[in-house]
């Protein structure tokens, strides 16, 4: 047997080659490749996979022992075992070069059937039952998708794992499909819609918005009506900055999947999109009302009413309707987080009314008492400081506004929006007090946070003011 040190060194693909190189004969190497095709094995299934691929003439047991003695094979507590991922994935890439295509199909069929047999035999057992059912669907899907002509069936099995799961099970399933997908891509397989959809969901969970948008866009652009296609279109619309594409995606999403909760959510998103254009505020209001007519969950309805309130609060003539929307939302939304945010919005509205300042302050306090995340609390403090500054009647109010702005910054030091509002309040307070050095410092902080939010217009104004102050400071002796 020939060895060389380069073959045996890291990275993973070389380690995989190293294990192949260390196995003395062709049969053992094929046995390892056969076992690497599986995500999970027991001895019986492994023996059959080895017999199929290595054509072992009765020596499958010996080959199985050889494979299981390798340090890349790990045993789970329930007796199943697997080839570790740092070796398995690179070996899967080598399958097609070592084994005829027809045999690879048969190997995956065998492994998919084994997963299905396991699925039938699972007995209900609390939490583990759900996980095992999910794992069997996932595994069967992973193999079926690699059998020529069964790609769509395999992809549907991924959805069978994802759909009935709770939130955490869904996230885990999407993450597993996202992990396996590059392997399928390297085999030159076009990824079916369910795989791209689940990759999008995985990217969304880890807040990788760019990739999420890419996967959802691809599914939407394929233009095939259906549930996951409609959800993809909806989620793409919420992520893209292209407002025209977003609107088209929302309308197609509504056409593609008639389920009322889905449609209610899409109408809500469409309302939010239309609310960005002043000329389409009436359409936005209509979209929110469509949404309210479809959603039945009080929490969902509460969120739509909050959005409707935000729209109405933009025009003084609709302040009273906005207040009603907020108060209806508060009555419906059971979540403290949701209600905390509505109290925050209501407080901003009452503050704009001037005569209801005391009620506004009570509402800010209500919001703070319900919101637990310091970043959310920071936003409330920043709004409160800003509102107080606008109606300040004396030095006492100015000091209080500055104090609230400082608290906002402390609560959410990494949130550019909160920090920008707080810095703007501080700059204004120092301007009124005539302290130009402190004003300059606050303006520079405001400029920095405006840039972080890509608010170029605000940044330009801040730059202009900073230039003016610096000019003045040149004239003032230190």
């Amino acid at each position: 047997m020939e060895y060389n040190s380069e073959m045996l060194n890291q990275p993973a693909s070389r380690t995989a080659d190293g294990f192949l190189g260390l196995l003395a004969d062709e049969g053992a190497r094929k046995a390892l490749l056969a076992c690497s095709a599986a995500l999970s094995l027991d001895d019986d299934v492994a023996r059959r996979a080895i017999a199929l691929v290595a054509g072992s003439n009765g020596s499958a047991d010996a080959l199985l022992d050889r494979v299981k003695s390798l340090s890349c094979v790990w045993r789970e507590w329930d007796g199943t075992w697997y080839v570790a991922e740092d070796v398995r994935a690179p070996l899967v890439d080598r399958l097609s070069g070592q084994i005829p295509a027809g045999m690879i199909d048969r190997l995956h069929e065998l492994l998919a059937e084994a997963a299905d047999r396991r699925l039938v035999g699972i007995s209900p057992n609390g939490q583990l039952f759900d996980y095992r059912v999910r794992a069997c669907h996932l595994e069967a899907g992973y193999h079926q998708i690699q059998v020529t002509g069964s790609e769509e069936t395999g992809a549907e099995r991924f959805l069978a794992a994802w759909q009935p799961a709770n939130r955490e099970g869904k996230d885990a399933t999407a993450a597993a499909v996202d992990h396996l997908a590059p392997e399928l891509e390297r085999q030159g397989r076009p990824l079916p819609d369910p795989v791209l959809f689940l990759r999008g969901m995985a990217a969304r969970t880890r807040k990788d918005w760019r990739r999420a948008e890419k996967y959802f866009r691809t599914v939407w652009e394929r233009g095939r009506p259906g549930e996951i296609q409609a959800i993809s279109a909806h989620l793409f619309g919420t992520l893209t900055r292209d407002q025209s594409a977003a609107e088209r995606a929302f309308h197609q999403s509504l056409e593609w999947y008639p389920e009322p909760i889905h449609r209610g959510q899409v109408w809500h998103s469409l309302g939010n999109l239309l609310a960005k254009e002043r000329s389409r505020w009436n359409e936005a209001e209509g979209a929110y009302n469509e949404s309210l007519s479809l959603l039945r969950d009080p929490g969902d309805q509460g969120q739509v009413l909050h959005s409707l309130g935000n729209l109405l609060a933009r025009e003084r003539s609709h302040f009273s309707e906005a207040e009603n929307a907020y108060r209806n939302s508060l009555a419906l939304d059971p979540s403290p987080q949701g209600r905390g945010q509505v109290w925050h919005s209501l407080a901003n509205l009452l503050a704009k009314m001037g005569s209801r300042w005391n009620e506004a302050e009570d509402a800010y306090n209500q919001g703070l008492s319900l919101l637990r995340d310091p970043r959310d609390q920071g936003q409330v403090y920043a709004s409160w400081a800003n509102a107080l500054l606008r109606q300040a009647k004396g030095r006492g109010d100015l000091d209080r506004a500055a104090n609230l702005a400082e608290i906002a910054r402390e609560c959410a030091p990494d949130n550019p929006k909160t920090c920008a509002v707080a810095a703007k309040v501080l700059a204004e307070v120092f301007r009124i007090k005539g302290d130009i050095r402190q004003e300059l410092e606050a303006l520079e902080e405001y400029l920095d946070n405006s840039r972080k939010q890509y608010r170029h217009r605000y940044a330009k104004r801040a730059e202009q003011r900073i230039r003016e102050i610096k000019m003045r400071m040149k004239d003032v002796p230190t």
């Binding site: 260390l22 196995l23 340090s71 570790a84 740092d86 609390g126 939490q127 759900d130 597993a176």
Partner: protein, 209 residues
């Protein structure tokens, strides 16, 4: 791994981070740790967190609890953490040893799982030992309430290999020396997992005898 035995005997709350790479001998180390823990009558469990299977936090904890002798009904991750913590915080609960094979550090619940495994009622003497096997022994640098250690591994030398071949495999001094030299030339002294496979592969010369 003397530090593991000492931690077990002294009832430490500790996280050992070992290499889980296939070229290393984490596999054998995990089995050694499990058997030491069982001999010491510690509740012992092993879980594998793999990116290719859809294991959520509640399911990972259900596997652990099942091996410790408790069953979890259908729960959310947060509820399962609460139940597991209650078991670990029970008075006179004894020692717990958990082997965690981690194939991706991106498992979102890893930190909260490892933190929970260190839970113990103040004044209790039972050990809380977690052995994490991951690529390059990477992982969290700190766990609330527990020490984190990455044992310092020395490479296997020529004498170790020669002795092993002579005593465990019955090779002659001359053959042992020759094979040990080949193994070191291939830099297998740094990769015990591959070294075992190399020795086993060379052992086939006796198959026909």
């Amino acid at each position: 791994m003397a530090s593991f035995r000492i931690a077990l005997d002294k009832g430490r709350r500790i996280l050992f981070q070992l290499p889980g790479d296939s070229s290393w001998d984490g596999n054998q180390m995990s089995r050694w740790c499990s058997s030491q823990a069982r001999n010491a009558k510690a509740r012992t469990a092993e879980i594998h967190l793999r990116p290719a299977v859809a294991k959520d936090l509640a399911s990972a904890l259900a596997e652990l609890m099942h091996q410790w002798g408790f069953d979890l009904s259908k729960l959310s991750g947060a509820e399962a953490l609460e139940r597991t913590t209650a078991v670990l915080l029970a008075p006179n609960s004894g020692s717990f040893v958990t082997i965690v094979k981690v194939e991706s550090l991106e498992i979102p619940y890893l930190q909260s799982l490892l933190t929970t495994l260190a839970a113990r009622l103040p004044g209790e003497a039972g050990a809380r030992i977690t052995v994490v096997l991951s690529e390059g022994a990477a992982g969290p640098d700190a766990i609330e309430g527990a020490d984190v250690e990455r044992p310092d591994w020395a490479a296997i030398g020529e004498e170790d290999i020669r002795q092993h071949l002579r005593l465990s495999w019955g090779w002659s001094e001359e053959e042992s020396q020759k094979q040990a030299a080949i193994a070191l030339q291939l830099e297998l002294g740094q990769q015990p997992g591959l070294l075992y496979t190399f020795i086993a592969a060379e052992g086939v010369v006796w198959d026909g005898v």
